[in-house]
Each structure stands twice: as C-alpha cells, then as structure tokens.
C-alpha cells in the first residue's frame, strides 16, 4: 500500500510544501535580512537626524541671533558716511585716507560699535547657551577701534573683555587664530571650531562668525561662542536602544567626544575614510566591530558646525525585534505545515479511497474473479472508471461464458466437444473406478457418410448426425457423449449391461433421420485393459472401431491388446517417417514384371522398403497403411517416383535397356497436390518419356471417389501415362468402374494366386476375369506368381504379364547391378517389340472376333469356345505363342496325343501340325486383308475349316503373328 496514490500525493505534497517553505524561507530570509538592514539603517539615520535636530535647534538659534545682529549691523552702517570717509568704494585704500577722514571714521566706528554692542547684548542675553559675543572691526578700517568682546560671567550676564587685537593674532597658529582668519577666508557666515579660547583659559568653544561687508568692503566680524561642553553634554545624554550611544567627530573623523575614546584620537579604524567625507550616512549601512568585538552599526549626520554626530548601536539590539517576531512565527508555521500535511493526507484519502477500491477490484478482475463488487457510484472520473470496469467485467463474463460454451461444445449437436469430453470423461471414469465399476470408452463411427451426403445432401447428413447424437446422448448421457467431428462420436460408460444398451442404441440409430440411416460401427475400450489417458482410450476404441471398416452392418468390436501393437507400429512409422526418409531407411526396390509370351522383363515396379535400424524390416503392408492413415503417403510416393526416374535416367545414360517403370499412387497423393501435374513435371524434368512411367492405382481408392478418380486417370492417360488398376480383386471389388473407366491394365491381386490352388472356383473367376479383360482390350498382370504351374495356367488364360517370386522379388538397385554383372538377370524385352507382344498377348483366344476383325460384329461371341491359337510364323518355323484349351484339345486330339505343355513359351508347334498351318500362315500373311479361310485335311481324314488372320508383325525379327481358329471339323 506504500505505493498508493494517496501516500504518493501526500508525500509529494509534503515534500513540495517543505521545498516551498525552504524556498520561501531562503527568499524571505534574504529579504528580511536586507529589509532589516534597510530598516536598521533607516532607524539609525532617523535617530541621527533626530539627535542632530535637537542640536541644530540650539545651533540655529545661535546662528540666527548672530545673523540677526549682523544684518542689523550691515544695515546700520552708513554707507554714505563710509564712502565719504574713504572706507568703501573705489577710493577705500586706508593709505589714501585723509586724517580727517580717518578721524571721522574712527569716531563713527566707535559710536557704531557701541550701538551695535547694545543690540548684540540684547540678543545674546536671549539666546540660550551663548558664552561670548564679539564684534571685531577690520584693522583696515581702523587701527584704534577694535570693536567689543563680552563673555558670560556667572549666571547673571556678560561682562566686557578686552577686544581682540588683530595685530597680535598669529596666522601661523591656526588653533588660536582660525576664528578670525577662517571667516574672512570663507567670506560667509559659518561655524568655527571647536578651538581653545585663549581668553577663556583654553576652554574649547565653537563660534558662529558672520563677516560684515558694506558696499563690498570688509568691515569686521560679528560672532558668538558656545562652549563645546554644552554640545558634549547634549550628545552624551543620547541613548539609543539598550547600549547605543552618540559621539561627535571632526570633519576629518577624529574624535571630539566619545564615551570611551580620547579627543583627537582616530575613531573606528575599520571604517573607510571616505565614509566621513559625506555629509550624512543617509541610507548607508555602516558596520564595524567595537572594542569588545560586538558588531555595531552607525549612522551619522553633519552638524551645521561641521562636526559629525555619530549614532552607534549594536546590531544585535537593532535586530532584536525582528528576531523575536521570527521566533513567534516559527511554531505557527510548523503547526500550519503539519495541519496542512494532515489535511492533505485526509483529503487525499477521501479522494483516493474509491480509486483504491477500484484498484483492488481490478486486481481481482485480473485474477478472473468476476464476482468482485463494483458498486462505487459518483460523477467523477473514478465513478466513470468504476462503471466502465463494471461494464467491461460483465462483457468479459458474457464473452467468456460464450467462449466456454463454444470451446466445450460441438456446435452442430450441442454435445461436449472432444476437448471438453476428455475432461468430463476423465471425471466420469474416475468416478466409476472409485465406485468399483468398470468404465469403458466407446467410439462410434457412422459408415458411408460420404455416400450418404452425396446421396441426400449435407443438410440431411447433418440431420442424421444430430439425430444420432441425440440417440447416443439419450443412451449414454448428455455430458458423457461427445461428437469428435464429422461422423465420429465417443462416449464413456460402465461395462455393466453395455452390450444390451449398445444394441438398443444401435437399433435406435437405424430409425434415425426418418429411417434414412447408416450403419454404425462401435469400438470399445475397456478400462480394465489399462487405466490409460482418456484420449488414448479413445484412440484405442477408434482403432477397434476402424477394424470394422467397410462393414455394412452396425456392430461393435472390442479393443484387444494385439491391436495395441499395431497402433504402436503405426505410431512408430508415423513418428519416424521423416527420419526414415532423411536417413534413407526407406529405399526403393524394383520388382521385374515379365511378359508371359516372351519370358522377358517388360516392366519394373518401383516399391518402397523400410529397413529400420530399430525394428528391422518393416513390411510395406504395415507402414504404407500407417502412412496412408496419417496422411503422409503423399510424401512417400513422389519420393519413389524420383528414385525410379533417377534409376531410369542412369540406366539410359549407361546405354542399358530401360523398360517402363510403374509407381504406386495413393488416394492422399491426389489430395495433397495436383499429382498429375506434379508427376508430369518430374518425369519431364528427368527427360523420360511419359509412356515409360506407369501409374498404379489401387482399385479401392478409385471406388471411393469414383468420379474424381476417373477424371484423374483420364488426365494421366491423355498425357500418355499408362494407368494400371492395382490389387484388383483384393477387396469387395465393384466391377462397376471397369465399365466406365478406361485404363491400360488390370493387375490381379496376389490373393488370386494364393487361391488358385484352393479349388476350381478361383480358376473360373480368374479365367473369366481374364477373358473379360481381354475382351475389353485391357492388359493383365498377375501378382504373386510363385510356381511354374501358375505360370503355365496364366499363360494359357492369356495373362500377358507376370510378377512374382517365381521370377524375382523386388530388389535394390545395387542388386540389379549385381545380377546384371552375374548375368542372372532376366533379359529385358526390347521396348520396340513391346507393342507386338502386347498385341499378341491380348488376343483373346476365346473370342473369335480377334480372328474375324474388330469391325465384323456378326460373328462376335458366336464361337466363344472354338479352338484358337496364336502362332508366330517365321521364314523357317512356325510355333504357337498362345493357345486356348479348346485348341490344345484339338491339337492333342488330332496331332499330338501325347502332347503336354512345355514349360517354355512359346512352345513349338507339333511337327504334324506345322505343315498343317505353316503354308496357310504364310499365305495369310500375304493375303489381302490378312485373313484367309482354308480347309485342311486333318490326320484322321476329316477336314478342318479354319480361319486365319495376320494380326501382328514383329518389327525386330520380322516374325508375323497370326491367329488361327478352327471353325469346324467335318
């Protein structure tokens, strides 16, 4: 909580207040300091002025008095008389005065002086503090009349003294003569002194002296004296603050009066000289340390006498009042700060409380606790924020519920989806186990949904799925049933009465969607087999279910431990497929396909083999379905194609005979890419002719997506790639497609070979299929040929190519090279002869049309069982290439009763028969249209009517192939 806004703001507030106070303190300290100084200066100046004023009143009084008398004196002087006496004006030189003039002047001055003395005395007596007064006449005017000089005697009054004798004044003794010479020098009224008065026992006095002029001529001096003591008394009585005092200085700063210093000593050596050159300290802050070291402040004014009156007071005392004030204010300031801090804290608490509550709520919201209370209501931002939070919470909750629903349920059926089911199933299983019961996991698969959808449309399909979902939910519980996707369901249940319930459910399913239902396969995993993860259990159940694939009836199968191995194998294969490719555990092997009529290799089938370092050899029968199941086969098949192309190319380059190679394509190849385009591109890139690569497609995948596959097959064939139907007859073959899809060859599944020995029926099927293929003009191969007997049979029934261990198993490229080197390799068919052999191989010895001609339909199927044979006619020999049973019977009967089939093909024509056919054969070859009828006597005398037709010519040997049919024997 220390990080909450409330604490922060309060802390910031307090810090800012303190900062502000600090700033304010510093500023105000400076201001107060300077203001204090200013005020102290003001105060001291005021004191100085005040003090000087009282002195000035006194001094002015004296000055006034003197001036008053002086004015009177000047006015009283008779300028006309003075002028007459030669005392003033241009002729005022005393030397030029006549004795009469001098006498008149002296008497005038004497009389005048007396008159003035009376006036002066009257004034002096009424002027406070006057010690003496005098009038001193200039010696230039009169040598006899000197004026007057009176000094105070006692308290009563003034007594006449001997007037000054100017002749005796020594201008070189300024101390005693200044009073006379200085005023003359100054030419104006002024204060003189203090100076020691000779006549007053060297008493220090100050004198106000006015020079008297009349018409520009100096007449004399009029003045009054005051004792310095009077001034000192005045000054010493001054007290400022507690211990402050006043003193008197000369203009030059030397002491006149000081409580501590002697007269004439220098005052305040720390004070600069120029300070006292000013008239007054007005506004100046002058401080110095007194003898005791205390800081003092002074102020001074210049008195009219020229003396400086100095007021001195300790700074401490001057500033005492403002310090006291500061001391009073400080606790108030502190109290106010604390109060504001507290107030701020409380106010912030009030302001941030809803915010804190909102913060707590939002933290709980962050932890997905949607039950948090968000009920603060206010018009302010926090209120708005709370409302927004509340709305956000509601919205999130709503969205979350919706998402939960979507995440956990299947949209179509409303059942729990796979993920959710796993959770529910786990709980249920654990619950059942806890109850001592035996849980089972069921996996449901609707058979033929694709077909269903194609037939009824997807809406109906969905409708069916929904119905089935409801049925299953009803039987196994809504929370315990799940749709995994498409037409797959799962459920968890108790083993008790399981089968009954299951049957009941399956029965209900039959009536689903108005009876338009599909079979339902069920796989069951019993938990007793192992308390595995639910998802694994589902996998197992699915595996068991998949075992019922292709079943047209509803039913169930249990998962067994053996299945587990298969599952393991699948998992291994899928899990290691990439590694296997990369490390070449998967290799391409080639199995030769041998032409029945020639016994030479006419094709090779590229097959993949997995040599696993851990598991050893893994059968294609294991890994191919596994890869198919995992949808990975599309990566294997192109790999095989590439390897085959490489092989062919290298063989081509080595100048070896290259026969067409067939590769296998799976359904997923077509889904993964445009395999037609892909194949074509790869083949073209390798520079191999299209007809050298044969595409093998199993019958089963064509049947699964018929129209699509038909189109793909057509594209392959249009591009020149032969297309073979692989594994024909391995499953529930539908002959349907044979009618509509054109292809080049049917490869009979090896199961035919296995069944061949089992009984007659299989032979019949095979013969008829073979005949059918021949009739359709389609080549045939039988796989799994292992015995000579099988070879003979197959050759007879017209199977054109053979494949199997009888000839050779699939071998690696190195092995092929090895066999070639050893010379044990079966010889390769010259590809140029392929058409020829193919042609004669295809001749249906059960079909007369081959003899008649394709166009002549009249005889078609008319003689399906007439003896027929294919013969090769060379210039020197005739031999049977193929014969049918009927023909062989015919030969045996008429020419070669001891005939038995030679293992080698082609077989030689019996000598007796040779003549019978040879000539006709040659004739036939040359006949127009290649067809002749002939009658030939048989050894028993009867005549055989035969039809012969030249069908093929070997382009290499020039051998002609003819088909002969014995039409009748008469």
């Amino acid at each position: 909580m220390m990080n909450s806004i409330r604490y922060k703001v309060t802390a910031i507030t307090i810090i800012e207040i303190l900062l502000a106070i600090l700033c304010v303190y510093l500023v105000s300290f400076t201001i107060v300091q300077s203001e204090n100084d200013r005020r102290s200066v003001e105060m001291m100046d005021l004191l100085a002025q005040d003090t000087s004023k009282s002195f000035e009143e006194y001094a002015t009084g004296i000055a006034r008095s003197v001036e008053m008398v002086a004015n009177l004196t000047t006015d009283s002087l008779d300028s006309a008389k003075l002028s007459r006496c030669g005392a003033i004006g241009a002729q005022s030189d005393p030397a030029r005065r006549t004795p009469e003039q001098t006498a008149e002047l002296d008497s005038y001055l004497s009389e005048f002086s007396k008159r003035i003395q009376v006036e002066t005395a009257a004034v002096a007596e009424h002027t406070h503090g006057v010690e003496t007064y005098y009038f001193s006449i200039s010696p230039d005017l009169s040598t006899t009349e000197r004026g007057f000089y009176y000094s105070r005697v006692g308290r009563t009054g003034f007594a006449a003294q001997e007037p000054f004798d100017k002749q005796k004044l020594d201008p070189n003794d300024p101390t005693h003569s200044a009073w006379y010479f200085l005023p003359i020098q100054r030419g104006r009224p002024s204060w003189i002194g203090p100076f020691p008065a000779t006549s007053l026992n060297e008493m220090l006095i100050c004198s106000y002296v006015v020079p008297i002029y009349k018409s520009g001529t100096f007449i004399g001096l009029l003045g009054m004296d005051i004792p310095l003591d009077t001034i000192v008394e005045l000054v010493s009585s001054i007290h400022v603050y507690d211990t402050g005092y006043a003193c008197l200085l000369n203009a030059d700063g030397t002491v006149i009066y000081h409580p501590e210093l002697k007269m004439g000593s220098t005052f305040g050596s720390s004070i600069k000289n120029e300070v006292f050159q000013r008239d007054a300290s007005a506004g100046m802050l002058i401080r110095h340390e007194d003898s005791a070291g205390a800081e003092c402040q002074m102020s001074f004014t210049t008195l009219s006498t020229g003396m400086k009156l100095v007021i001195i007071a300790p700074v401490e005392e001057i500033n005492a009042s403002s310090r006291a004030l500061a001391r009073t204010i400080l606790p108030i300031v502190i109290a106010v700060v604390l109060a504001i801090a507290l107030l701020g804290f409380l106010v912030m608490g009030r302001l941030t409380d809803p915010l804190e509550r909102l913060t707590a709520a939002s933290q709980r919201l962050a932890d997905a606790d949607y039950d948090v209370e968000l009920n603060y209501k206010s018009n302010d931002e926090v209120g708005a924020l709370t409302t927004a939070f509340r709305r956000m919470r509601d919205q999130i909750q709503e969205d979350f519920d919706d998402l939960n629903r979507r995440v956990n349920t299947d949209e179509l059926t409303g059942l729990p989806n796979q993920r959710h089911f796993f959770k529910l199933a786990l709980e249920e299983r654990d619950r059942l186990v806890a109850c001592g019961k035996h849980p089972v996991v069921l996996y449901f698969n609707l058979g033929g949904m694709k077909h269903y959808n194609r037939r009824y449309g997807f809406d109906e399909g969905d409708s069916l799925i929904v119905d089935v979902a409801h049925i299953l939910a009803r039987h196994f519980g809504e929370k315990l049933t799940s749709r995994f996707g498409q037409d797959h369901f799962a459920a968890v249940s108790d083993e008790e009465n399981l089968e009954d319930r299951l049957w009941a459910a399956l029965e209900d399913c039959k009536h689903a969607n108005g009876g338009k239902a599909v079979p339902v396969s069920v796989g069951i995993y019993r938990n007793d087999l192992g308390n595995v993860d639910v998802s694994v259990a589902c996998d197992c159940a699915k595996y068991a279910c998949d075992q019922r694939r292709g079943s047209y009836f509803s039913g169930f199968s249990y998962f067994e431990m053996s299945m587990k191995q298969q599952i393991d194998m699948i998992r291994y294969v899928v899990g290691h497929f990439d590694e296997a490719l990369e490390k070449e555990w998967i290799q391409v092997y080639y199995q030769p396909i041998v032409r029945a009529v020639s016994g030479k290799v006419c094709d090779e089938e590229a097959l993949s083999r997995w040599f696993d370092p851990n598991k050893g050899f893994i059968s294609p029968g294991d890994f191919i379905p596994a890869l198919e199941g995992a949808g990975l086969i599309y990566r294997l098949d192109p790999y095989v194609l590439n390897q085959a192309l490489l092989k062919m190319k290298s063989q081509q380059e080595m100048g070896l005979t290259v026969v067409p190679h067939s590769i296998n394509l799976s359904r997923s190849d077509f889904d993964a890419c445009d395999i037609v385009e892909e194949t074509c591109a790869r083949v073209d890139a390798a520079g191999i002719a299209h007809n050298m690569i044969t595409i093998e497609i199993t019958e089963s995948i064509i049947g699964k997506d018929f129209d699509f596959m038909k189109g793909q097959i057509e594209r392959f064939r249009d591009l020149g790639f032969p297309v073979w139907i692989d594994d024909f007859g391995s499953g529930y073959s539908s002959l349907d497609f044979l009618q509509s899809v054109e292809f080049d060859l049917i490869k009979f599944d090896m199961s035919f070979m296995r069944k061949l020995d089992e009984g007659k029926n299989s032979k019949i099927v095979l013969v008829d299929l073979m005949r059918m293929a021949t009739a359709m003009g389609v080549d045939t191969i039988c796989e799994g040929v292992e015995t000579e007997e099988q070879v003979r049979f197959l050759r007879e029934i017209g199977c054109s190519k053979l494949q199997g261990y009888y000839y050779c198993k699939a071998i690696s490229l190195s092995e092929i090279a090895e066999r070639n080197r050893k010379g044990i390799q079966i010889g390769y068919e010259n590809p140029e002869e392929s058409d020829y052999f193919e042609g004669i191989g295809k001749v249906n010895l059960h079909d007369l049309s081959t003899v008649i001609s394709e166009e002549d339909k009249t005889m078609q199927n008319a003689f399906s069982t007439v003896p027929m044979a294919v013969m090769e006619v060379s210039a020197d020999a005739v031999r049977f290439v193929r014969t049918n049973q009927s023909y062989r019977d015919f030969i045996k009967r008429y020419f070669w009763p001891s005939l038995s089939y030679a293992p080698s093909v082609p077989s030689a024509v019996p000598p007796a028969a040779e003549s019978f056919f040879r000539g006709h054969a040659l004739e036939c070859c040359e006949a127009k249209g290649g067809r002749i009828f002939f009658d030939e006597a048989l050894p028993d005398g009867s005549t055989a009517s035969c039809l012969m037709r030249h069908t093929h010519t070997n382009p290499v040997t020039g051998t002609a192939a003819v088909v002969v049919a014995v039409l009748s024997i008469a």
Binding site: I21, S28, V32, E35, R38, Y213, S215, A326
Partner: protein, 550 residues
Amino acid sequence: MGGRRSFRVQTLLAMFLLLTVTFVCAGCGGKDSSAVSTQPAQQNLDTSKFLVAIEEEPDTVDFQCTSIHYTIATNVFDRLVEMKADESGDVKVMPSLAESWEESKDGKTYTFHLRKGVTFSNGAALTSSDVLYSFTRLLTHPDSCNQDIVQSIRGASALAEGKAKELEGFKVLSDSDFTITLEQPFEAFLACLSMPGASIMDEETTTEAGDRFGVDPASTIGTGPYILKEWERGKGMMLVPNESCWDGLPKNAGLDLRFITDAEKIRMMFEKGELDILDLDDQGSSAEFFIHGDIYQSRIEEVPPIGISYIALNESVAPLDDVRVRKALQLSLDRAALLDIVYSGRGSVENGIFSRGLYGFNSDLPAIPYDASEAKRLLTEAGYEKGFDLSFSVKSSSTQAEMKLAENAVDMWKSIGINASVKVIDEDEFMSLRKGGKLACYTATWTADYNDPDNYLYTFFGTAENTAFRSLCYPKKDIIGRVQDARTITDPAKRLREYQDLERIIVQEDAAWIPLFSRTRLYVTSERLVDFQHAWNGSVKNVYRAMSVG
C-alpha cells in the same frame, strides 16, 4: 465530460499546493508586509531633475496684460521672431515661428512664412489666423498693456479704439503665409515682434479659455519648449517639457519655479542646494556672502545685462518742470559713489538712455559730472536756493539696492539743500500712480526687450501716453514727434544718428531723466547646474531651456 462535475486530482493538487505555498508565503511575509507598500501610491512629478528658480508670483501670466512677468511667455510660448546672437555674436532678429519673411521696398509690408508642422502643446496646428488672433487680442484686450508692440500695424489704432473690427494691415494669405502692412515704415518692427508680449497664442484654446488664459495652466497653451503644468498659488509653478515642441526638448526635465520673496529663505534654499540659480539682486546685503564666500567663487556668473538704471523726473510736477532744477538734480548725484554704495561698484555709470551693449550705444556722449556747487548754482538760478520738497517714491516690494539707491540719492540731494525724502508706497498704488503720471521721482531699471534703441526711446518718449505712463510727462511734442518719425527711417545709419541726437537732447539738454548706471548682474549657480546660459539682454529667464542640471 460535458456539464459533469469534473474532478481532476492533478488540478486539485496543484491548487492545493499553490494555496499552501501562498499561505506559507503570506505567513512568512506577513511580518514584513510594510516593506511592500513603501512605494508612494500617489503619482507625482519627479522633479529631481527640474531646474529650480525663483519667480515673482504674478496675477496673470497673460503676456499681453502684464509688463512685469514674462517667464511663462518666454518659456511656454514662441514668437514669430527671436532676438538672438548669430554665429558671429551679433544680436539679431532670427527666425522662430516665422521661418522666413520678406520686407517690401517701401519698408511697410512684411510677408511672413510660418514654420511648417508647428503645433501647440494641445496638438492644434499653428496657422496664420492664430497670429492674427494674437495681435488682434493684443490690441483689443481691455487689460492689454503691450499694444505698443503692434501699434505700428496699419489699422492697429482703429482696432484698439474700437473704430474697426479687423486689423487692416494683417492679411492672411494661407495657413502659413500672411502679410503685415505698417502704417509707416518701422525698422524695429521685427525686433518688436520678438518681445514676450508678441507671443503667439492658439486662437481656439485662448478664445475658449477667456479669462482663464494666463491663469489656468490647462488653458495657457503655447508652442514653446515647456508646458505650464501646475500653478500652485503662493507656492510656485511647474513647467514640463513640451514633447512635441518644434524646437526640440529642453535640456532639463522641467522647470520648478518657486514664489519666494524672503531673501534669507532664498539664501538658505540655495545653500542647501535646493535652488539652481540665485539672482544676487534678490539677496541684498547677503549677496556679499556669495560674492566673498569661498565656496561660491567658481559658481558666480557675471552677466552684463542690456539695461539701464535711471531716476525718472516728472516734468508735470513743479519745480521739476524747470530744466535747471532737473539739471541740478543730475549734477548733485555722485553716481559713481551710488554705484559703489548700492552695487559695490559693479557696473558702469551711464550718461544717456541707450545703455552699453544696446544697438546705438553712444560712447562719445559727454559725461554728466558730479558737481554739487554747479547744482547749487543752478538751483539758486532757478529760485530754489532754499530748496524744495521732493518725494522719492519707492514701491514696497523694491529690492534693498533700490531702497539704498533712493536713500543715498536723497542724501546727496539733501546736501545741496533739496528737501528730498524717500517715500515707500504700496506696490499697487505705486503702479497706478506711475501709470497715471503722478509720481514725481522714482528709480527703476529698464532692461531691453529687443536690441534696438527704439525699445528705450519709444517706451519712454515715443508718445505722450508713454511718457505719462512712465510718470515722465515729457512735454516736448516735437521731440516726441521726432521719436515717432525715427521709427520710419529706413536708412539704418540715418536712423541711428537721429536716435543718438534725440538721446542727447532728452538727457543732456532737457535732463528729462537721470541716467545712473548699467550694472553687472551676478548670478550664483547650484553645483549641479553645469551650463549656465543667459540671453542677450542678460536675463536668464528666457534661456532656462538651454540649461541642464546634473
């Protein structure tokens, strides 16, 4: 947020802090709040840089209606022309408001061209009609005492006497051009126009002001370097610079004129440095303290004024109508001694009317000697060997010098048997008596208004009225006629000769007045006044603008 009560933590916080700081500030500053309010609330003129001078307080500053107070006229107003020294130092008529002018060949018609862009301090432009108005008012104002200045313009008398409504000789050509035609040629006409009484006033303001002109500062509007800002009765006048003056700003920040008459007060003021110019004429005997005072020696300015001190004798009063009596009075005065006694000898004894420095001063004029026996002889000859009574009138506001002069003159006359006495008369009475031609004898000093002998001669002897106005009552009509005719002489040399001849006749033959002396005036300046100036006639009052105070 719209109308919602918005709550912003930051704003509140900021306000809170501000409040706190303010509070703290107030708390800290409270103890010292007086420091803030020491500034004067009232907005006063800062007169610390004003030139301070002493002035006699007038009843009016209307220069058309006063003959004693021209300080406002010369500082607040301008004239068409100004009497100034040119580069070579000769005092001449120089352009002022009239930038230029032409004089017709017959000397009668002047065509003036006003300076462009001149405005009165109220912003009104100066036009020809303002000049016409000023002259018309000068002639027609009932209290006007300076009609003489423009009397020479054709039709002036008719206008003054109410016989005409307009000034005939004044023709406005345009806003800035006009012609003035004189009755007769008058060479001193331009010099007359430089007199304070010829100052130009704003027609509109002055008309509107009526009686307030010259009394109310706001109505007393001129074109000069200063504006009359305040006139505090009994205290003084405050003049501030006229920012828009055509002739530029004065050198000082204003004029602070004090009405103080007590010499001692003036002296104390000056000693304290509160006065920038001290006229020692005002100081009486105290003047000696400045003249002799050691600290003033460097600050004393000697100015020779163009003026003359004289003693007027009223010829309409017996026995002063007898030329022998008048000559006896002339000869019995020891004028050199008087100069010594009264002015400590600072000046020169004069023997005519035209004082030293004036255009036309005649240094060849014979000296009037001090000859008491001859005077006695003349008195006896005139039948007054036993003397006669003579009142020497002195106005109560006279300077000590005038008083002393009167007393000593009286003493000298007494010595030849004349029963002379000084008679102090209240100023108003003195003036009315003088203007009425009733004073028998008085002394005065005439200072030149313009640098032309006409200014003296015409003033005292130009007309019967003029001589009566000065209580001279000079009876010789032919001489008066010649004085008038002299004005029209266009040949300067001839005119000068005529003036000097008239001067000799009036003073030496007729002894119509007693010339005394031309003085040296003394001024003491304050320490801060650094560039003392005086005008051609010795006055400082019309050159205040050229002085600066440090």
